[in-house]
């Protein structure tokens, strides 16, 4: 087990599949579909040991692989995971399989290229989550851009070229500026230690001067905030989502957006703690604007997919707000909510894809009364709507509760805004449900829509299971986050424990440290 390069296997399984597909003739469309499905399923299966073998007790990065890569600049092939990245990798491999499975009948043109791009994208995403070398991380981060560009640009709808280039350039501008931030860290590290390295764990031990921290934070902010996307950098998202093919939207919502939040938690917070605290008001303000603005705009949409896209803006802003509460509960909630957003928004995009494949329109006004002809579909849509708006017993509730709890400790005013976002979220989602599922079928084209096929149903099963699992018994997930969250909080907010103890006046600090995921939460759910 220790010698098995598990992370490399997970990382390169999709790439191997892509290379295999290169050599298959484009004429064997069904063969290509089978190969892509088997490869992504295998990719998911090989990632499962991460869940079981991950040692919850150990605060260290695990499954570490470290090899020399470019010795002259100190770059390494350095992989490793903690609880946070384990969960995101599992989300990636699962959503990758679901995305591929959902494309079976939706994609009929250039099938081979489509699956090759999806598989390359998969490797890029996993690579970003497992890299502990900053240069390697950046490499995978950029690798994701190109396949996504093609997925939107070739297989998208209406304004696909415009949306694809918009996505590409927005993300690229952010990431090249981020690269400068990485370089600034790199040379500072050298000036202090006389060693050239991109080792993230080394960076996390640095104490940078405050001035430099602020600049680097802003550079990282641009890269990550565009990806999240935070208001006011969100404008690429509705276009990209609307024009992407279903699988593209699913991957974009479920995994790509998490790159931004992952970047904040993995890099910005622990490497730049003082700057992070300095910028909390700005981050909180932008998040709150995002929550309310995203929700209000979502309410005004007539396009089903655009509505879900704007709901993403709102939900991801909530994730950011929880993170910048900078306490264990808030950060735990932020991470859990990232998973939830992946599950529920991924499912919502799949659901739009199902009807789009049947009707080729996304206008909400074209639908209505679908629950009569598609009862199974309507039932799944209902569960996912409830999950998205945070109904108790489903996953969204846990995430939002933790975030609100963390935010409340930081500022009651923020909590009030966050709560308003949840209310608005319920409004637009339920209204969407009402307009599409209930009422009479007024459009004759909708009268004979077939319900879900077995394959389509299969794409939803794992998501339903996860929604209920996290909703009812989140402890296994929270347990895996303990060490990550306490490590991040110890770096970014080292006084938190003491302040907390002083405030409460009853709990000794030692107890706090032991239950670092937040005593109220971890204690309550276990």
């Amino acid at each position: 087990m220790t010698n098995l390069p598990l992370l490399s296997i997970i990382l390169f399984t999709p790439l191997a599949g892509a290379i295999l597909l290169l050599f298959v003739s484009g004429k064997h469309e069904n063969g290509i579909r089978w190969i892509a499905n088997i490869v992504t399923l295998a990719g998911f299966l090989v990632s499962l040991p991460l869940w079981f073998w991950y040692d919850v007790q150990s605060p260290e990065f695990q499954f570490v692989e470290r090899h020399v890569w470019i010795p002259s600049i100190g770059a390494q092939y350095f992989l490793g995971v903690d609880g946070f990245s384990v969960l995101l990798i599992l989300l990636t491999t699962l959503m990758g399989f679901i995305a591929v499975l959902s494309s079976w009948t939706a994609i009929t043109e250039r099938v081979k290229e489509y699956y090759i791009f999806l598989l390359v994208l998969q490797t890029g995403m996993i690579g970003a989550f497992v890299s502990l070398d900053f240069l390697l991380f950046f490499l995978f981060w950029e690798v994701m851009l190109v396949p996504m560009y093609f997925l939107i640009g070739i297989w998208g709808s209406d304004r696909r070229l415009y949306s694809a280039i918009k996505f590409f350039l927005y993300t690229l501008v952010g990431s090249v500026v981020m690269l400068l931030g990485i370089l600034a860290l790199y040379f500072y590290q050298y000036s202090v230690t006389n060693v050239y390295t991109f080792d993230v764990t080394e960076f996390q031990r640095l104490s940078l001067p405050f001035g430099l921290q602020r600049w680097v934070f802003l550079a990282f902010f641009l890269g990550f905030a565009i990806k999240v996307p935070m208001f006011p950098f969100h404008t690429w998202l509705p276009d990209a989502h609307t024009d992407a093919p279903t699988a593209g939207s699913v991957i974009l919502a479920a995994v790509l957006l998490k790159m931004g939040t992952y970047g904040f938690i993995r890099f910005s917070l622990p490497i730049l703690p003082e700057a992070t605290r300095f910028f909390v008001p700005m981050m909180a303000f932008l998040s709150i604007v995002g929550i309310v603005y995203g929700a209000l705009v979502a309410m005004a949409q007539s396009d089903w997919k655009r509505l879900v896209a704007y709901s993403s803006v709102s939900h991801m802003a909530m994730v950011m707000l929880g993170m910048f509460a900078l306490n264990p509960v808030g950060i735990t909630g932020s991470i859990v909510q990232q998973l939830n957003h992946g599950i529920s928004t991924g499912a919502l995009f799949l659901l739009v894809g199902v009807v789009y494949e049947r009707r080729h329109t996304r206008l909400i006004g074209e639908y209505g009364g679908l629950s009569k002809v598609m009862p199974v579909y309507a039932a799944i849509f209902l569960v996912m709507t409830m999950s998205s708006i945070g109904l108790p017993a489903l996953n969204g509730f846990i995430g939002e509760l933790l975030i609100l709890q963390g935010v409340f400790v930081a500022s009651r005013l923020w909590a009030a805004f966050a709560a308003s976002g949840i209310v608005l979220g319920a409004a637009y989602m339920l209204w969407l449900y009402q307009r599409t599922m209930f009422g009479k079928i007024e459009n004759p084209k909708n009268e004979h829509l077939p319900d879900l096929t077995l394959r389509e149903f299969a794409t939803f099963v794992p998501l339903l299971v996860l929604a209920v699992w996290i909703g009812l018994y989140p402890a296994p997930f929270l347990r895996r986050l303990d060490s990550t969250v306490s490590r991040v909080v110890a770096r970014v907010n080292p006084l938190y424990d003491q302040e907390r103890a002083a405030d409460a006046g009853v709990r000794p600090p030692a107890d706090q440290r032991a239950g670092a995921a937040g005593p109220a939460v971890a204690g309550g759910t276990r």
Binding site: W69, I70, P71, S72, I73, L135, F138, L139, E142, V143, L145, V146, Y149, F150, G153, I154, L161, I165, F168, L169, L172, V173, V176, V177, L179, L180, L183, A184, Y186, F187
Partner: protein
């Protein structure tokens, strides 16, 4: 012997001798073979280039000054010689079919390619203003003829005339600067100039000399505002010549600029109370910003592929200038690395364009790429990687090159230059990706199917392999470039700076 070469010197310039002799042999072979069998000439040219490369091996570790200080044989020269030989070889490979389609005579063409390469080698190795200038002339004259090589084509003629007139003009400016340097220092030897000029940094005539040298070399590397000739010449010249011009000539001019600025004018780098009124790093700073920004913005609006790549090549000269400005060993190494990487990706991109030249299609408009993926999937795939590399997207070599350049800029404190650089590379992606869009997203082919012959396929394959390999495993290139940069006397330069 009072002057000239000693016996030992011949050993060190054996590569140049092999190349010159080979070029003459080529002329003889040209007379012997019939016009129908011109491929033989390409083979001979490749053999000459290969023999030159082999002749480089024994002197690879040398670090000597020969012929009474006229020429240096060091790592720095070696790096560029390798670059020139590779570039020339790839150019020859992509020319074989092009010349047949154009009906041009191959013998003189390959001869001129070899002559240009010879000139470049002296531009990299020269340590005397005279040697450098003769090298530059040898290269430039060869290119004047090559640019107009397709005689029936009026645009090719126009390109040649424009290049000749503006080239002669720029050489005049450069020569004027050099003569001022000679007048002020009493020597044409770079090292002697450096010592003779010590203490004269505030002399305005010296500043004028530096301005003229920078302007003259600015023409050669096509830096804005000295770039006006480049788009027309690049568009009109035969495509393989454009490729060689944009890679070889540019790299050689950079080698020469580094030699002159770093070896003979280190004290003129930064302005200050002791130093000159205006240092060359500030001049280059302004040039670099103008060059990157204008090159990229102009490229965005082009519909002709060659013209677009001409503007993009202007922008790339701006990136390389960042390394020169940084002035550290890392900066010079970054410039070297980038020039090498740029050679592969630029020649690769041009070889795909050459592939599009058929009897019934000129093939240098963006729309000629329409649906290339469906006709030549591997050519399109290669072009995709060349474009991504030119734009600096990992895992291609272009990213590693840019990474190294911007890193050098940040290390030397030129943060804003790096910021402008990265924003420019984001802009550039817009037009590089557009090329890809044409290949993949549209499907209305024009003209007959592109034909791939083995020579062409080899060129694309070599360029692609290098672009990808250097993208994921650039370590050896980095080390080679650093070792080369160190021989340039940059260590002393850094002491002057700090």
């Amino acid at each position: 012997m009072p002057a000239g070469l000693s016996a030992g010197d011949f050993f060190y310039i054996l590569p140049e001798i092999v190349l010159a002799a080979g070029a003459l042999v080529l002329l003889v072979v040209d007379v012997l073979v019939s016009r129908a069998r011109q491929d033989v000439l390409a083979a001979v040219t490749l053999i000459v280039l290969g023999a030159t490369a082999v002749a480089l091996l024994p002197v690879a570790d040398a670090h000597v000054s020969i012929a009474r200080g006229l020429v240096a044989v060091d790592r720095f020269a070696l790096f560029f010689k390798v670059l020139f030989l590779v570039a020339a070889a790839l150019t020859v490979l992509m020319s074989v079919r092009y010349l047949r389609v154009e009906g041009a005579s191959a013998g003189e063409y390959y001869f001129l390619i070899l002559c240009a390469t010879l000139g470049m080698m002296f531009m990299a190795g020269g340590t005397d203003l005279i040697t450098l200038f003769i090298g530059l002339e040898t290269m430039a004259v060869s290119f004047y003829i090559l640019a107009g090589f397709i005689k029936p084509n009026r645009r090719s003629n126009e390109a040649a005339i424009k290049y000749f007139l503006l080239g002669a003009f720029s050489l005049g400016i450069l020569l004027y600067g050099m003569s001022l340097l000679y007048g002020l220092s009493g020597s044409t030897n770079l090292a002697t100039i450096a010592t003779a000029l010590a203490g004269q940094e505030r002399d305005p005539r010296l500043v004028l000399a530096v301005v003229l040298v920078v302007a003259g070399l600015g023409f050669k590397i096509a830096a804005v505002p000295f770039h006006m000739w480049a788009p027309d010449v690049y568009e009109g010249a035969p495509t393989p010549v454009t490729a060689f011009l944009s890679v070889g000539s540019k790299a050689a001019s950079f080698a020469m600029a580094l030699r002159i600025l770093v070896e003979s004018l280190p004290a003129m780098r930064l302005q200050g109370a002791e130093g000159p009124v205006i240092g060359w790093s500030l001049m280059l700073y302004v040039l670099a910003i103008l060059t990157m920004s204008w090159g990229n913005l102009a490229a965005v609006t082009q519909s002709n592929l060659k013209r677009m790549l001409a503007y993009s090549s202007i922008a790339h000269a701006g990136y390389v200038l960042i390394g020169v400005i940084a002035g550290s060993t890392r900066g010079v190494a970054a410039a070297l690395i980038y020039l090498m990487i740029y050679a592969f990706m630029q020649l690769g991109a041009f070889s795909v364009i050459v592939m599009l030249r058929r009897e019934d299609s000129v093939g240098d408009e963006l729309k000629d790429l329409n649906g290339l993926y469906f006709r030549r999937p591997f050519a399109a795939l290669a072009m995709l990687f060349f474009m991504l590399s030119l734009g600096g997207i990992p895992p291609t070599a272009g990213f590693m090159g840019k990474f190294w350049l911007f890193g050098a800029a940040i290390e030397s404190g030129y943060v804003w230059l790096a910021v402008i650089g990265v924003l420019n590379s984001a802009i550039s992606l817009y037009y590089y990706v557009r090329v890809v869009v044409f290949m993949w997203l549209k499907n209305e082919p024009s003209g007959s199917d592109p034909v791939v012959n083995p020579a062409m396929a080899t060129a694309v394959a070599i360029a692609l392999a290098a672009t990808l390999l250097l993208g994921v495993y650039p370590g050896p290139l980095f080390e080679f470039a650093e070792a080369s940069a160190r021989t340039l006397g940059v260590a002393e330069l850094v002491q002057v700076v700090r």
